[in-house]
Symmetry: C2
Subunit: 678 residues, 2 copies
Amino acid sequence: MRKQTLWLKRATKMIAYVLVCLPYFVVTAFAQDFYLESPDKQVSTRVDVSSDGIYYQLSYKNKSVINPSRLGFRIKDQPALAGGFMVTDAQSSEYQQSWQPLWGEQQEINNQYNQLVLYLTETQGLKRQLTIYFRLFDDGLGFRYEFPRQDNLTEFAITEELTEFAMADNFQSWWIPAYRDQRYEYQYLKSALSSVDVAHTPLLMENDELAVAIHEAALIDYASMTLRMITDNHKTLVADLVPWADGTKVYTQAPMKTPWRTIQIADKAVELINSNLILNLNEPAELTAKPDWIKPGKYMGIWWEMHIGEKSWSPGKSQGATTKRAMEYIDFAAQHDIDGVLVEGWNRGWEGEWWQRKPTFIFDQPVAGFDIKAVSDYAKAKGVEIIGHHETAAGIQHYEAQMDDAFAYYQKLGIHSVKMGYVGTRLDGNEWHHGQFMVRHFQKVVETAAKYQVMVNAHETIKDTGLRRTYPNLMTRECVRGMEYNGGSPDRGNLPNHTVIIPFTRGLAGPTDFTPGIFNFDYQKNRPNNRVPTTLAKQLALYVTLYSPLQMAADLPENYMNQPAFQFIDDVPADWAKSIALDGAVGEYLVVARQDKSSDDWYLGAISNEKQRDVNVELNFLPKGKTFKAVIYRDAKKTHWKTNPEAIEIITQRVQSDDLLKLTLKPGGGAAIRFVAL
Amino acid sequence: MRKQTLWLKRATKMIAYVLVCLPYFVVTAFAQDFYLESPDKQVSTRVDVSSDGIYYQLSYKNKSVINPSRLGFRIKDQPALAGGFMVTDAQSSEYQQSWQPLWGEQQEINNQYNQLVLYLTETQGLKRQLTIYFRLFDDGLGFRYEFPRQDNLTEFAITEELTEFAMADNFQSWWIPAYRDQRYEYQYLKSALSSVDVAHTPLLMENDELAVAIHEAALIDYASMTLRMITDNHKTLVADLVPWADGTKVYTQAPMKTPWRTIQIADKAVELINSNLILNLNEPAELTAKPDWIKPGKYMGIWWEMHIGEKSWSPGKSQGATTKRAMEYIDFAAQHDIDGVLVEGWNRGWEGEWWQRKPTFIFDQPVAGFDIKAVSDYAKAKGVEIIGHHETAAGIQHYEAQMDDAFAYYQKLGIHSVKMGYVGTRLDGNEWHHGQFMVRHFQKVVETAAKYQVMVNAHETIKDTGLRRTYPNLMTRECVRGMEYNGGSPDRGNLPNHTVIIPFTRGLAGPTDFTPGIFNFDYQKNRPNNRVPTTLAKQLALYVTLYSPLQMAADLPENYMNQPAFQFIDDVPADWAKSIALDGAVGEYLVVARQDKSSDDWYLGAISNEKQRDVNVELNFLPKGKTFKAVIYRDAKKTHWKTNPEAIEIITQRVQSDDLLKLTLKPGGGAAIRFVAL
């Protein structure tokens, strides 16, 4: 077997694409092998193309992470596109460039990778072509397929993507199951990899040497990838694309590029939170400056009072969306640093059990009792944004027929933000939420919203794959079992460890509209069995540990009044210059620091699961020699999420970057800190 | 609503059935309610019978554990048997008696409960009758249904058992999934209850107040109960009986009693290990004394060398089962306190990939190269038992046709023990391993084995439900992901926490043939990626923490030679006078003490997961004032399951019951102690 190795020279400093084209043409009856290293040489991949098929493998620090794993496709009414290839050309290149997201966790992101592009042609039969891109970063691998324009593959249907991930260890894994009715809204399972059945991504795995997460980037006009365990060895995961109702995975035509399959790697799981690999694999936005209608910020809304049974989405006696109530929210927001007010149930069609029937929503007519013009004028006068709401109840046809008008209606009212909803088990009664059908639809939503200058915050939609880089009005999404489950859910709600798992799993995909900020833990009048399983200090800490550019203060205005702790929510920004996950262990604890984008202030959030623990935080993320006033919101001596969640201490002290801060997090507790630059 | 409460008087001391019959006859149009307390009044149940249906609920220390939950059935070609009942009679009674198992974890077991029997008749239509027995113990509830002899329910098919378990909290749960091809052989999932899909029992749940496990007792001629989450609330589990291939759950005829549904409760999960509720709900054996052919003991066998690729089950060059090799095992066993020697692959039919085809096994003909007569004669001369092997490869018809002859053949050879196997994904190609089909078959096996004086150790069979009390030749079973997965499994094997989960979950069902005792951690020649994820000291500790009356020393004789640590395996018994789970947390650590049945010696096992930890063991289980020589097998300073598993220290010290022993368990480590009565 002849081995062909591409050793990539390291460039000293590059500021744009540098293509080191190595024209390649090799004929061998047996195999063609390629080798690629990350810029820091710690991550490496090997690709073998032989008559058997295409196989890649991945190593980190000279240990195998992914053993040889198959690549390819099954195509409807054609032979599989998986073997019998010849590499007709191979190109390697290095890339390094920093870029500035319009908003996000970081003001500047370094995008540095080594790339290998393999141009494959079948040697026999249809002689179809396939191109595969491998990008190796210091924090992992991304690879994608491209179907070039060609005669024997024009319009076609993918019946199976054969991409495998033959994991090299029986990793401890953290996952949510795919193909269940609650979409992504499950608490995470922790198990040996060998016990995984079929999981959504990001799938997090760790052993005592490293942590690895599989996900995807730039999911456009394709089906979402879930990972199914191959049961003959219980260690190889295979891409299981969420199908259309007819069983087809993807309808497409060449030329076409698939989403990137991503494998993020770090020594420890907490370091994965600092990875920008997903964003780096998405295309830059065409915008170069942030339009003024795209604004990260905080919002409140008529919402939690429905979840705790005080109000209803339905019109009538207990109607939540009233002009008066909206104005109360606007008043509170205007008096505080809250940018927007959401009104759920404002439009017509919410009568009764709206989630049980074909949707009846009308998206440009307010319900009786809610004067949208008066409310949006009032908001404008007070300097507060109104956040619209498009709940589709999973009725896509019904919604799309009105979509353009619905966004135009918001634009006319000066509304620049919408919360989307897709409550239901199947779209239009028969399509999964995570197939190409939803991906196409949601793309349409984002583009239509942009046309009418509206930011999107989507619930129950397709998972995040970093498209916010390309479409910067795509702000945040739910796609997680959020705070709402602590309100009205009959299963009593989330466990205390849930929010300590999310940043390591769901959070790797992108911004999470979890909706923190519950201050009143005593809402059991209508919900005798439900609880918010945190302390008040942990609620504050979530504003730092859970990233979202639209961050809700989810409780009612009454519950925030006369609460000194609300000052932290007033202060905390939703857009950051820097973000650093400092320390943590999945499901146990997490400490995150972020620097405000519009000041020199820093913020820190530390959270624990159901256990009390001490965390020692080195403040060396602060600039050296500079003094900060640390305003610390922490659990009190007897604070406990179950028996005494509200007890909080607010203390102030001066700190510098060489200080060590010892924080005691009580059971279900946390700490939130603002470091004011002096 | 009229409430009828049965307060049960506590009897002072009873030695046999005491029936306090309270003849009951109540007519009300609305509801009949019954209340029952455990002997210590800490556990209580309420049963409501109304036109709606039959509902029970369960409380522990005045907190709800199970909210009102439905009882009943769907019957083929009849209306559901679930509502419209009248309680025509209700009987309550108290019971207390100690009994002596022929072998087991305890020499004496206290069986004390309060019982309520409800006799139900439909008020309309078919007027069918149903009787329900509730037994409330200090450690939980058992209830079962009885279909009395009646005109309108004779031969019938159950299409659904409607029994619900509406859990009162979103418990942290430990479970394995049902309806997967590897039967029970999965590593456990840890998740919020709300993320459970469909689980086998025992299902363990815990919160910070209590631990609860759902299982069943006395599963005879019925389908195994799995627990499926109802997705409209994600907290109610419903009995999901494993169906026949035709979809029917149970074929039966009145009179008939179902298995007991069991709910074990304790303050902490570790206390559940001490519960005898499952055994107490099984019928006593008809035997009053232990026949001499039923003998708990230790065994070795030609087995692990196949799993690590040194030998093969197939006849020929690498054949494991040879006369010579068997005699080597017999020699070693005879020189040590090992009672039996298993020979896998001894019979005809193992050629090639036997698990891939219809079974070809012949159960009374040895393979060429294995002289069974010579081997069993040799064993007899050396005082060692031979353990037979019936691998069916899930071919039930093929096996049953030979079964009687096969056991007679063993009896003739003086073989009194058999290991059964049912490798395969479906029985006879189409039946699940856990439906009524297997339950019926396995009952036949146990009864046939008894007829020929053979003890049964079954792998891949139906889960344990305590039937060893009734059938004392039913010794132990696998029904777990055992040691074998550390040998040849392509997924690299079990994680270090696996053996720290099993006693809290699978172990609650009964004896587990996990097969501990691997001393040679360096078997990577043929298995480069596999590992036994423990230290040597932990291997020893497993003999105490994992209960089995037939306990394997799984490694090869060569690997035990010149190993001082083997002394512990020589010494440790397989039958106990007392067993106490002292301390532990699921998946974290466990400390168990047991007293030898044939001496005054005690044994202790302490095990940890992948983390190092110190455990402090109070020795107050030892008799007061008596001095013991503690022979301690413990991890050395630098022992680590991954890098240095063999390092072990054996030290001896004198202890008494008021001593506190501090044990340091290294990562993946443990400690094993023999307390020799002086």
